[in-house]
Point group: C2
């Protein structure tokens, strides 16, 4: 391990599993990055989230609006910059926690599957980390975002067990491995590390943490 | 360790360090409880939070209302019951994460200090766990809530380093030890375990987790 801490950008899109970044996955990533000596900066897009969902009932709240970066600040304890300020050249690696917001705010995968598209600012950031051969750690549904962004590069990744999301990402030519939440998949060639986390809704939180800590350690080793 | 998992109630009051339960502390507690074999049930009061704070700017959002239990469901992934359904006799221990909401929603300590009072439903739950000699783990500012509830019982607890909160709780006759976030304080007589967590705003998240895991292990050992 080098004496210089690795600089890692973490990308958030709100705070909550149904309309933003998955809270537990985000916290697990921040914990593992700190535990293993990384220096973290958090970023989120400015602008409204696609929707606001009552996480008790699962119902969309009609008319309610929340800002992605303002809500992400709940996880970030205020320390979250606009994605417009994220310069991949300043960082050694990128980590993207999951949550439904990733498939609704960062892209429209939740609605359009493999035919979906990615927010230009997010697309640019992911493309740049990839083209600079800096590792990307993608958690839960975030591997689908990376797969949608890098459509023309065959990736190896996991999205947990068999699902519609797996079928859609395979349509794009990516290789999708079926794994439990305590494991992670490494695409050495593309420096992409993925773990299912809450793709398994019933995964015990300690197993989700095991998978995310494994992902983080691998991302830092590749950085 | 007994073969029966210990049943632990976790008390939440929203989702976010400025107006609800501190997200990272709540997640750390859930992780440590799962890792050490406990069976967790989450509870929150129904009703509106005292206020809604924009966590990016630190400013209260005038006129905005959010429900404590609905927001807590973001951390709880939907699995959070009304505190009215919490029967201490069904549980072995109680854990209360911190966050400003604890001092504004569960009681008015943030406004009135040692002269403050506690929500009757929360007061009743804490009193009952204490009187049944079941351990209580209180994180960050939550020891102040317990100290306010159990005014007539001299407790030993920590609230981190010297602060106005420490002065106010000492006025109630409690013994307050000054500790870093990686440590925890055990009041064996009252079965109360406390750790400072984000009472130190700058504490590294891995240290906060260390303190909370230590608290959880001690709570489970006392249960």
């Amino acid at each position: 391990m080098s004496s210089q801490p690795k600089k890692v950008a973490v990308l958030l899109c709100g705070s909550g599993y149904r309309d933003g970044s998955e809270i537990r996955e985000s916290v697990a990533a921040l914990w593992a990055l700190d535990k293993h000596g990384a220096e973290v900066s958090m970023f989120a897009p400015d602008g409204e989230a696609y929707d606001v969902v009552n996480c008790l009932t699962g119902q969309t709240v009609p008319g309610e609006k929340r800002q992605m970066r303002v809500e992400a600040a709940r996880i970030a304890r205020g320390q979250v910059e606009s994605i417009s300020k994220l310069k991949p050249s300043d960082f050694d690696a990128l980590v993207i926690p999951g949550g439904f917001g990733v498939a609704k705010n960062f892209c429209d995968f939740a609605l359009k599957g493999s035919a979906g598209s990615v927010r230009p600012d997010v697309q640019k950031v992911i493309e740049q980390f990839h083209s600079e051969r800096k590792p990307i750690g993608a958690i839960c549904i975030a591997p689908a975002l990376v797969g949608l962004t890098l459509k023309n590069t065959p990736l190896t990744l996991t999205l947990g067990q068999a699902s519609e999301a797996v079928d859609e990402i395979r349509k794009l030519g990516h290789q999708v491995e079926l794994r439990p939440s305590s494991e992670w998949v490494v695409d050495e060639k593309n420096r992409l590390v993925t773990t299912p986390a809450y793709m398994d809704d019933q995964a015990p939180i300690a197993e989700v943490f095991t998978g995310i800590e494994g992902l983080v350690q691998k991302v830092l080793a590749l950085a």
